[in-house]
Symmetry: C2
Subunit: 489 residues, 2 copies
């Protein structure tokens, strides 16, 4: 092939610094406005499948366009297709809360544009992250085995799903002395959760080549928490059948009802049996910044790994999952690869952390910046205040439900999630949910408990205040009035 | 537990809209300035292990701090620990280029703070992504089997590593009729790459429970590209040994030398054998936006999956890997999970895409925004111009190397990566590399070819112009002069 001629360097299609300042200021202002008006927008997007695509041009532009047209299209095309996770009226799933300092941290991360795969590729990216993970151990009341100054340590993952997968892989390798890594699986390893463990465990069983048939759903108590004696029985039965119990996933705050698996009983059992115990505290883990909520992690000093998501309930935008291991060697040995082009003196010296060996992908963004900004902007006191407010609002909401004879609470409310239903048919409850969500005034989601449809209201959005929760309850009562008027039971 | 009293809502630790505007404008300006001065900063960070951590306070703050102190610490503590991937003097690894429009897209994504795990959780997040992936098929000259309007489709992944893993998993399941997902691995599945395939394939073999011993490194030709007849022989031998060939990873532009595995010969072989063929074009795939470089993907119409990284060389900040499959059902069936709390009418109808089934994690950011902004800002013509310029500069650099008898080119230069060395010992070349990188004037990395140390210079940074490349060559010659003076050979 003929080498092409080098074109003149005088032409450039890049955005000039002045254009970038102008566009950047405009976008910052747009976001500030958005966050102020978001509570007036319908929470759940009301578009039909295909509507957004139909509004987009069939072909990409041949010539560039000004930034102002993109901002206009954002309003015209994109916004109607947004389900507003940052609305104070968002009570669905678990929250994905964010805050202004975290948005600025993400902006800075994009502006620096560095890769943190190795210490060498930006030492500050690795060292700030390690330092913050050690800060979190103290701030959140976590046990010392997770400090990087000992044999353990923490890392930021993209999601609790990935943290569970990494833990499962490390557990798989520890149980087989790294034989699966070398020779592949045997179909003889078993893992344990409950019917309420997050679905990412089932997904991880597939990804890790362990097979969903080797995932045991341990029996739960009346509050949907794992029964330790049932776990012990399952483990014995599997050993008797010649299988190898390798991994247990316990949950601090299940997705359906915020049930708390009893770590203090499960951890000694796993230690005795030599089984890797991972604890998934995806949302509820943020509560432990307040000393009065640390009872939810009692027993954590006996576990192998732990994760919670500052991107759910600690005002840090997605993605930011804090993942801790008690023995980093097992994790690193499981995921390590070292091709020639990544070799360097710092890695060879063993004096540094290379986080690519702590996660599934190779590349990584400078995610510690947003968490750093959040912790420094709020301070521990500010974070505690808002977490306490969310919990108190949920307790208030639960008391309102208790006080209305048309409704029932269907699970304990340890923190900020309320599970409730109309004392009526599933159809009534589905209609209530559909009417509320279609109104755009608030967004709730559902689960099923004992085969009955249950509504979930989770309070954790950054801007949610008492007036929003009070209005949500008023709207729920209003729709219930209407349902009772139309369909008398 | 006693429910705590609901605190008054009048207190708030959140950043006010006015504070956010002020801090946001300041940060935009900081980034604009940074991108202008970055070429004067030492490219490779010169800090020693532990220096950054030592400058950080031991404890997190109890009370919040003003944003100005964080910006000051950014300059004082963080910046010295940054290896400047956005410097025009960065020639290491593969580039991770970014542009102003992509930075703004990332900012918008953080500001909206939505989750794209389901269509329902923000329809625009899913539909814009699908639409852009279809745009890319046209823009990049990819075959029609990757369009979402047929049985295939595209998705944005965080990295080429994750794309390779997803492809491997789908291939694993297709080869076993989903038996590994159900019952776990058997250690009898085999995958194929070469010694130059990216290390993420080896990592994926571990993660997927297939075992690195079941990864075959197929023999390469004199230009380090896979030899199809050697692949055929390996497959036959494995079948004869009772193993099941399940997956081939071919590379368009290997990391070491930008070698091109011959897809046109490999694809028919894999089709005939019923083996999933994935093509990893992590960096070089961006070149196909220019029709004259599409020869690198000749034969792509016969493959099962393909990925390239707009976050490497298409001016879109990390993370943005475009991953395409010819048959989305195989991928979705491999990764799908559906717990009650994620069930909804839109998903049930089958009329929408739920991208959580196309990737490892559940949660996902609105990454399509940054790619949308990039394509619209530059237009196809602008993107083509800058890609062509990078290729032309690399060809110029190669010709300069060719013209200096002290140096040799050690591999063909199909696009923008030049592999070269001093005609001397590995120690000389290591010294040259170390002196250059320690000077901070530029950053190069190395590889090994035929057991010799080789320097790699990859031109793909957003702001790299002729004057930077010319200066890089002048500095390389200067250090070579000094080495020759000090250590005469």
């Amino acid at each position: 092939m003929e080498p092409p001629l080098s074109p003149s360097s005088s032409i450039s299609y890049h955005m000039s610094p002045e254009e970038f300042r102008r566009a950047g200021h405009a976008l910052i202002d747009w976001i500030a406005d958005y966050r102020q008006r978001v509570e007036s927008l319908p929470v759940l997007s009301q578009v039909k499948p295909g509507e957004i695509r139909a509004a987009l041009p069939d072909q990409p532009p041949l010539q560039g366009e000004p930034f102002a047209t993109m901002l206009a299209d954002l309003e015209r095309i994109i916004l109607p297709g947004i389900t507003h996770w940052q609305s104070p009226n968002f009570y669905a799933f678990f929250p994905g809360n964010a805050s202004e300092p975290s948005i600025l941290g993400e902006l800075l991360s994009a502006g620096l544009g560095v890769q943190g795969m190795l210490w060498l590729t930006s030492p500050a990216c690795t060292e700030l992250e390690t330092h913050l993970m050690d800060w979190l151990v103290g701030m959140m009341g976590l046990p010392e085995q997770f400090l990087s100054t000992g044999p353990g340590g923490g890392v930021i993952q993209d999601s609790a799903s990935s943290a569970t997968l990494c833990a499962l892989l490390a557990g798989r390798e520890r149980a087989t002395n790294f034989a699966v890594n070398r020779r592949g699986g045997t179909g003889r390893l078993v893992a344990y959760g409950t019917a309420h463990t997050h679905s990412s465990l089932e997904k991880a069983m597939k990804i890790a080549g362990l097979g969903v048939e080797n995932l045991r759903k341990v029996e739960v108590d009346e509050h949907h928490a794992m029964r330790p004696e049932a776990l012990a029985a399952r483990i014995s039965a599997d050993r008797a059948a010649g299988l190898t119990p390798a991994f247990v996933c316990a949950t601090v705050g299940t997705t359906s009802t915020n049930a708390m698996d009893p770590l203090a009983a499960i951890a000694p059992l796993c230690q005795e049996q030599g089984i890797w115990l991972h604890v998934d505290a995806a949302m509820s883990g943020s509560a432990t910044i307040c000393p009065e909520f640390r009872w939810v992690i009692a027993g954590l000093e006996g576990v192998d790994s732990y994760s919670f998501n500052p991107h759910k309930w600690l005002f840090t935008n997605f993605d930011c999952t804090a993942f801790f291991v008690a023995d980093r060697r097992a994790l690193i040995e499981t995921l390590s690869i070292l091709p020639e082009y990544l070799r360097n003196e710092a890695t060879k010296s063993g004096a540094v952390i290379d986080y690519r060996d702590w996660q599934i992908p190779l590349g990584r963004r400078f995610r510690a910046l947003k968490l750093w900004f959040v912790i420094r902007h709020y301070g521990i006191e500010g974070l505690r205040y808002h977490i306490r407010q969310h919990v108190a609002l949920a307790q208030d909401f639960a008391s309102w439900v208790r006080g209305d004879p048309r409704f029932e609470l269907v699970a304990p409310v340890p923190l900020n999630l309320v599970c409730f239903r109309l004392r009526g048919s599933d159809a009534d409850n589905q209609a209530l949910l559909d009417h509320l969500n279609a109104s755009g005034d608030l967004y709730l989601t559902h689960t099923k408990l004992d085969d009955r449809l249950v509504l979930r209201l989770c309070i954790g959005q950054t801007a949610t205040e008492r007036r929003h929760v009070a209005r949500a309850w008023a709207r729920i009562q209003e729709e219930a009035d209407r349902l009772v008027a139309v369909e008398p039971r």
